[in-house]
Symmetry: C4
Subunit: 320 residues, 4 copies
């Protein structure tokens, strides 16, 4: 432990990462979200921004939610019309309770969607009043759905694919930690910047183990046009927290590397951000020889081909 | 008063805060809005941006406004149809004036919402003309409502909870003023920056009391990832306007601390801003021992729990 | 003229204003738009961005445009249905050609707005086909109108009122040029910055008169919170292009001051920009004693009242 | 080749352009998109962001896509109704299979667009159920179309017209490379910045030919107000990669100049970006005398006329 202390105490650890030395588990999940659970709000729903939640839902879940909401609203209104009495709706098929209810359900949907064939129509004050309110509600629901759709697909995203693993490879006279990223859609990213931070368990002045946070310098921290892959390189020199750490050290010291990428997307005309992390505990930091090339010139078509399935492709050590 | 002068005249007061020394009352309300009333516009409505107003309404007031607008529009059109003559609408229940009017009201709503059952339909030039215009108006109203809905829930917000009180606590060899903030929803804030300013009543060169404005330096002014709470610390050293002020001084000098937080929200992909203020006059600046910890590791679930109900929790002095 | 040259040739004129020395007339109109006319495009419509144009229309013109488009579309479709033959529409009032055509017009509007009462409905292939296409077109038109509405009222605006005139007043030991601005709506502006440039006619190295551009330094160029009025002050010292210019000089040299204000609006969560200019030729630069105060504390209500109708109020010289 | 090496090895080539020395063909197409083809994704659709694609489609293609989607959806639903059995739809013209199917098709469109005349209406469980779902789908499709329309026309664009060719002209005592740009719509651009980079084939330390990337300094890199044309000038001095290159050198060394322009548009209140490139291989870099003036004062109308058709107009050398 005296050995560990001398390794990192000479470096300036960060206070402004926003992470706490006393937190538990992984700091940043692989998809970039922080590993924090909120509690203590009077209303448990208060800790969710429903707009953020709606925007984060996978597409199929979002559509399913809309369908369920639609069916539920119609069932509720059908029950209301049914209790008012089906004699207040012209054209209902009264042959059996099942047919009655389904016809009322269909009438409700024709009102909610404002189709309004009229074959079934409300007669009398209360049925017409409920229908008036249901049409209004249908329009509001549709207005909200339109806004959510637009929010979902206009949300600026970087569409970057990160390599699943980060490598420690021989570099110049020493070693370097590197990982890769590449844009995988037809978006245009410019002014891409990367900020690397890491958390390492180290002994503090009382001899207790706690997490310390350090900035990792990269050879290049800004790229003008991100159209091919970008291999981010952190040289492991004497200023690096990783200096002279062995594979076992990485395991023991529970190293976690936080990646924060920011770029400008020309279609969204907006800043886009994407984050990820590499955790030694989850075996995402590997000692290897080098990354393999993932793009190749296509002489025939006078263009460059970027092979995104080769982003994790590396040459391992035959013996280490 | 000579004593007061020597306390603050050595510090550089700000001219660019945007606040005036001669203004009245609190400068910034607790919710961050400035305490200014505008007058002198020819049209009193001119001082409100209806869009800002619509976006600031609480949700229930906004929905209520839409409902009232809907009912009012239908009443107005019902009166128009009624005055044209109900014989120009087929299918009206003519049994009594009440039924006539309500049927006309319902027809109006069926046109406004474009449901258009057709059981009641316009016949003849004027009724059809009014119906043509009413359908157009209904569509426009709905277009505007869709835009307002989207504007309301896509409006970037920081969703930060501030501690209600700011503390003056022992810190290192002296004292420090500190308060806390924490994000309470599932949003992702990065690059959070805080700017602290304060207003203090002090004697100017003529011996008159007026408000002076000073910047308060913070130990850390920028946090990379704001996922836990952030305790903002202003060290009260000889460069601070609070140096050697007692509790009574704070009361007498009517101290107000302005907090301006800015961060980047990754879902909105936009800058978000939130402000608050702490006023000694409103007893929001308290001398105490320290803030109590508000988060705890959850060993079992390998995550960190942030207890938002403990954000105001502090250890007071038993005697001072 | 030799006198003029010695006045301004010692100052560094700007090349990067974007204005040309050889342009004609005023550079910036009072509302901030550049005084440039574009020509030479093959299609004259190409020089208008229809989206910018739609967003710039006054509200009443925009609504009028929508109404006219609505009526025109229905007239066109009515003519199409009429030529197909009214026997293909059930329920048409065939009593006279006028009634026939108006009924067809109303049917068209009921389809276009998707009300679809059904009292008049298409029968047969061609009428139904046209109706199918008309409903689709109505929906598209409505989608576009929804987008335009939202674009119009969500467009970030600064809502700043500028004083109509700029004053040259005694200031400290010399004089200063100053003007005022104040926010007139309930928006929240922070980090307001102002950039002042001016154009003055001066003799160049060949002795010919042309416009030169200079930056004007302001005492304060950035304000944190713009909630009251901001009086922007340019001190006329020996570094200023206005040094020792008399009232007649201002006239002769055709001085134009460009104001460019940028701030951050917290509701739009966006940068807002507003521009104006003051032209000596249009008598907008006046020698006077001082601006009069335009706000006053309201002791009773513990707030500050900002009198926007007093923004141009100044104390003139009784004799000059 | 020894000659070439000595020309460029003294200059600092860039590593952070984002382009690779080993890529093929042109780096940036004339419209600004990178010349890269992506491969290796499991699902070939994954490499397209459908939102970016929808926003990039020419307007006529987008409308055509909507029309085809509309017709296709109705054909599919017509087939579903037809297979359920046309006896479940009242009002169908049963005179011939063609009329039956077209009537079902029209009923489907009346449901999908929510017109719902009611002359044809569903009867029975299955037909009504399908109609309920079709109306819902129509509303969703319309919500998505509304969002796409708004995304398309609110997408910030710079609307800059670049000169098709870049010139190498005599400038001061040497030569300079210059090109022009001008805004061609009624938008307001401020704070326009340009960044020039170039790629040149040069021998590396092994004697092999590869592309090197260099920044090109411009006389002025930022313009306050871009309302007239801007001629961007790169002085070819000893620090320039173009120093002492002849016309033949430009051809042989496959020079490509990348232009990246960024400005702030006051209507969009957003950053706008536009890019282009000039390739010697495509004969877009020309040695000439000078660009001809493209704007003229309009004395009569007190404004400046910008002739956009003269943006490529230059004076060639009579002999070179």
């Amino acid at each position: 432990m005296a050995n560990l202390k001398s390794r990192l105490s000479h470096l300036q650890s960060r206070d402004d990462s926003g992470f706490s030395s006393n937190a538990s588990g992984r700091f940043i999940n692989k998809n970039g979200t922080p590993n924090v659970r909120r509690a203590g709000l009077s209303n448990p729903l208060q800790k969710y921004s429903w707009y953020h939640t709606m925007l984060d839902l996978p597409s199929w879940q979002f559509i399913l939610l809309l369908i369920c909401g639609y069916i539920l609203a119609n069932i509720i209104f059908a029950l209301i019309y049914y209790s008012i009495g089906i004699e207040h709706l012209t054209g209902i098929d009264e042959s059996s309770p099942f047919n009655q209810f389904t016809d009322v359900f269909f009438f409700s949907s024709q009102t909610f969607t404002t189709v309004g064939y009229g074959r079934i129509a409300p007669v009398g004050f209360f049925a017409s009043l409920v229908a008036t309110f249901e049409a209004f509600l249908g329009l509001l629901g549709f207005a909200i759905a339109t806004g959510l759709f637009y929010g979902r697909f206009s949300r600026p995203r970087a569409f970057l694919k990160f390599s699943k693993i980060a490598l420690i490879v021989p570099f110049q006279e020493g070693t370097a930690m590197m990982f890769r990223m590449a844009p995988y859609k037809n978006n245009l990213l410019t002014d891409a910047q990367v900020v690397l931070t890491c958390a390492i368990e180290d002994a503090d002045e009382n001899g207790e183990l706690k997490s310390k946070f350090f900035t990792l310098k990269t050879l290049i921290s800004q790229i003008n046009t991100l159209s091919l892959n970008w291999t981010v390189v952190h040289k492991i020199d004497k200023n690096s927290p990783f200096f002279e750490l062995t594979k076992d050290n990485f395991e023991t010291m529970d190293v976690e590397i936080f990646v924060h990428v920011r770029a400008f997307d020309e279609v969204f005309s907006n800043t886009v951000v994407q984050r990820t992390s590499y955790s030694s505990h989850h075996k995402e930091i590997i000692f290897a020889k080098k990354f393999n090339m993932m793009y190749a010139p296509s002489k025939r078509q006078k263009t460059t081909v970027l092979n995104l399935d080769r982003i994790d492709s590396y040459t391992p050590y035959s013996n280490y």
